[in-house]
C-alpha cells in the first residue's frame, strides 16, 4: 500500500512517558501525501501526545519519528524549528497569544519562522488572505478575548495554515463547541485540506467529525462541501486510528472501523449521530 511513495509522517515503535507514566506505547504508522488520519480515543489515551510527538514538542523515550523522511526525535530544539515551519498545528484550546491581536497572532509564524523567508511587505496581505479564508476578515485588530470560542478556533486554524504547511495537525478542533460551530470548523478543515492538498491528522473523540472528514470533499467551484462517495472520490484516503491507554489498537478505513467487533473500538462508532 503506497510502498513506492515516501511517507510524510512516520512513527516507528514510538513510546513516550511522562514521569514514568506511559503516554504512548510502541506506536507505529505512516501517513502519506494527501492522506487524512482521524485519531479517536478516550480522554488520556495519548491522542494529544501523539500530535505533540509528531511535531517534536514531546520527546520519545524510544522509537523513531520521521517527518518528510527526516528523523526528528534526536534533533536539538534549534534544529527542529525549520522542520516545524512545514507543519501546522491547531492546539486544543486554540493557544492564541492573548497579548497579541488576531492579525499579530496570524502574522507570528511568518515573522518568526526563519525558513519561511516571508518579505515584510507580504506579511499583511497573507494574513488578510488567510483570515478571509477562515471567514474572519473583520477581526484583524481584535484580541483573542474579544472573540467567541468558534472564532478563536478559526483564528488558530488561520495561524496554523498561514505558512502553507504540507502537514497539518488538528488537536480536538471541535472540543467545547456547540454542534453547529463544530460542523463549521470541520467544514473549514476539509476546505483547507482539499484546497491546499495537505496531509491532515485530526484528533477527536467525536465520530461524526471523522465521518464528515472521510465522506465529504470541498467543491471549490460551488464553494461548499459535497459527498465524496458515489464517483466523487477525492483521490486520497481517510484512515481511522484508535488509541487506548497509549497503544494503537486500531488502524483502518471507515468500513473496517464500523465492522470492528472490538468493544472499545466500537464505542466510538456507536456514537454516530
Amino acid at each position: 500500500m503506497k510502498s513506492s511513495e515516501s511517507p510524510i509522517l512516520r512513527f516507528e515503535k514510538v513510546s513516550v512517558a511522562f514521569d514514568g507514566v506511559p503516554a504512548l506505547i510502541d506506536v507505529s504508522f505512516a501517513a502519506y501525501a494527501s492522506d487524512t488520519r482521524v485519531i479517536l480515543g478516550a480522554a488520556g489515551s495519548g491522542k494529544t501526545v501523539l500530535l505533540k510527538t509528531a511535531l517534536g514538542l514531546a520527546r520519545p523515550d524510544s522509537g523513531q519519528v520521521f517527518i518528510f523522511e527526516k528523523r526528528i526525535d534526536n534533533l536539538k530544539e534549534r534544529d527542529l524549528i525549520d522542520i516545524r515551519s512545514q507543519v501546522g498545528m491547531l492546539f486544543q484550546e486554540s493557544a492564541l497569544f492573548d497579548s497579541l491581536t488576531i492579525e499579530e497572532n496570524v502574522a507570528y509564524p511568518l515573522e518568526n519562522q526563519r525558513a519561511i523567508h516571508c518579505p515584510p511587505e507580504q506579511i499583511r496581505p497573507r494574513v488578510v488572505e488567510t483570515l478571509e479564508f477562515v471567514e474572519l476578515g473583520g477581526t484583524l485588530e481584535k484580541f483573542p478575548s474579544e472573540l467567541s470560542g468558534g472564532m478563536r478556533r478559526r483564528a488558530a486554524i488561520a495561524r496554523a495554515v498561514v505558512t502553507g504547511p504540507r502537514l497539518v495537525l488538528y488537536d480536538s478542533p471541535t472540543a467545547g463547541l456547540d454542534p453547529i460551530t463544530a460542523h463549521t470548523i470541520i467544514e473549514l478543515l476539509i476546505k483547507h485540506r482539499d484546497v491546499a492538498h495537505t496531509t491532515t491528522l485530526v484528533v477527536t473523540h467525536r465520530y461524526q467529525d471523522g465521518n464528515l472528514v472521510a465522506n465529504f470533499r470541498y467543491n471549490s467551484e460551488q464553494g461548499r462541501l459535497e459527498p465524496a462517495r458515489n464517483g466523487n472520490g477525492r483521490g486520497a484516503r481517510t484512515i481511522f486510528m484508535v488509541l487506548r491507554e497509549g497503544r494503537l489498537v486500531f488502524e483502518g478505513d471507515q468500513e473496517q472501523l464500523e465492522s470492528s467487533t472490538d468493544e472499545y473500538v466500537s464505542k466510538f462508532v456507536k456514537r454516530r449521530e
Binding site: K52, L55, L57, E77, R78, I81, R84, S85, V87, M89, F91, Q92, E93, A95, L96, F97, D98, Y108, P109, N112, Q113, R114, A115, I116, R159
Partner: protein, 255 residues
C-alpha cells in the same frame, strides 16, 4: 533517601540548564529588543512607587532606631553614617529585591504559568520561537538592569527619609547628616556591594519566576502553586545569596 533527593536534584539541574540557556541567549540572535524594553517598563517603571515607599520607610526607621542606639554613646551625630551604610549594603538591596520578588517573580511565574497551561508555550515552539529566548531572556535582562537602578533610587530615598528624621526629631543639621552619610560610603566596597547584590538578586528572582512558570502543570491551580513557589524560593535565595555575598566582602577585609 535517594528517592527524596531525586526530585530536588532534577529541579536543580533543570534550573541551571534554564539559567545557562537564558544567559547564553543574550549573545545569540534573534534578539527581542522590543520585549526587553516592554519588560523594563513593566518590571522597572512599574515597581518604582513601591520601591520608593520601601526605601523611604526603611531610611526613616533606620534613622530612628540608630539614633536611639547611638544616644547611649553620645553619638547621635553619626546617624547619617549608619543609615548610609545599612541602606547601601543591606537594606536597600535586600528590601528592594524582596519587594521585586513579591511583585515580579510572582508576576512572571503566573504569566508564564498561564501560557504553559493554555499551551501558548508549545504554540510558540511550534511557530518557530524558542520560549527561553523570547520570554525568559528579556525578563532576566530587564530585571538584572532595573533592580540595581531601583536599588540606587531606594538608597537615596532612604537617605532622604533618614535626613527628615535627623532634622525634625534628632536636632541634627542638614550639613551634619549629609556629611557623615556621604563620608561613610566607600566607593570600592559599599557601592560595589550595593550594586552587585541587586544584580545577582535580580537575575536570581527573574530566573526563579521563569523556572516555576515554565514547569507549571495542573491548570489554574498549578498556576497558583507556581506563583507561591516562585515567591517563597525567590525570598529564600535572596537571603541566602545576601549572606554569601556579604561573607565574601567581609572576608576580604571590607567594613
Amino acid at each position: 533517601m535517594l528517592d527524596l533527593l531525586k526530585g530536588p536534584a532534577i529541579a536543580a539541574e533543570e534550573f541551571f540548564t534554564l539559567t545557562g540557556r537564558a544567559l547564553r541567549n543574550i549573545f545569540r540572535s534573534p534578539h527581542y529588543s522590543a520585549d526587553i524594553i516592554i519588560q523594563m517598563d513593566t518590571i522597572g517603571v512599574g515597581s518604582f512607587l513601591v520601591i520608593v515607599l520601601v526605601g523611604f520607610f526603611a531610611g526613616v526607621v533606620m534613622a530612628l532606631q540608630m539614633a536611639h542606639a547611638l544616644r547611649s554613646y553620645g553619638q547621635v551625630s553619626k546617624t547619617g553614617t549608619l543609615v548610609a551604610i545599612t541602606l547601601a549594603r543591606e537594606l536597600g538591596p535586600v528590601l528592594s529585591a524582596l519587594m521585586m520578588a513579591g511583585r515580579n517573580a510572582t508576576g512572571i511565574a503566573s504569566e508564564l504559568g498561564s501560557m504553559k497551561v493554555t499551551e501558548q508555550i508549545d504554540a510558540m515552539r511550534a511557530l518557530g520561537t524558542d520560549p527561553v529566548q523570547k520570554l525568559v531572556t528579556p525578563r532576566v535582562v530587564a530585571t538584572g538592569v532595573m533592580l540595581p537602578m531601583l536599588t540606587v533610587i531606594a538608597d537615596f530615598v532612604g537617605l532622604f527619609g533618614g535626613w527628615l528624621v535627623a532634622i525634625l526629631f534628632l536636632g541634627l543639621t542638614s550639613v551634619q547628616y549629609w556629611n557623615t552619610a556621604w563620608r561613610a560610603l566607600d566607593w570600592k566596597d559599599d557601592v560595589l556591594q550595593g550594586l552587585l547584590k541587586p544584580l545577582v538578586f535580580g537575575l536570581t528572582l527573574s530566573l526563579i519566576g521563569c523556572f516555576y512558570g515554565l514547569r507549571t502543570t495542573g491548570g489554574t491551580q498549578g498556576v497558583g502553586r507556581a506563583t507561591t513557589q516562585a515567591m517563597v524560593a525567590s525570598a529564600v535565595f535572596i537571603l541566602i545569596l545576601d549572606v554569601m555575598i556579604t561573607k565574601v566582602f567581609v572576608g576580604q577585609g571590607g567594613g
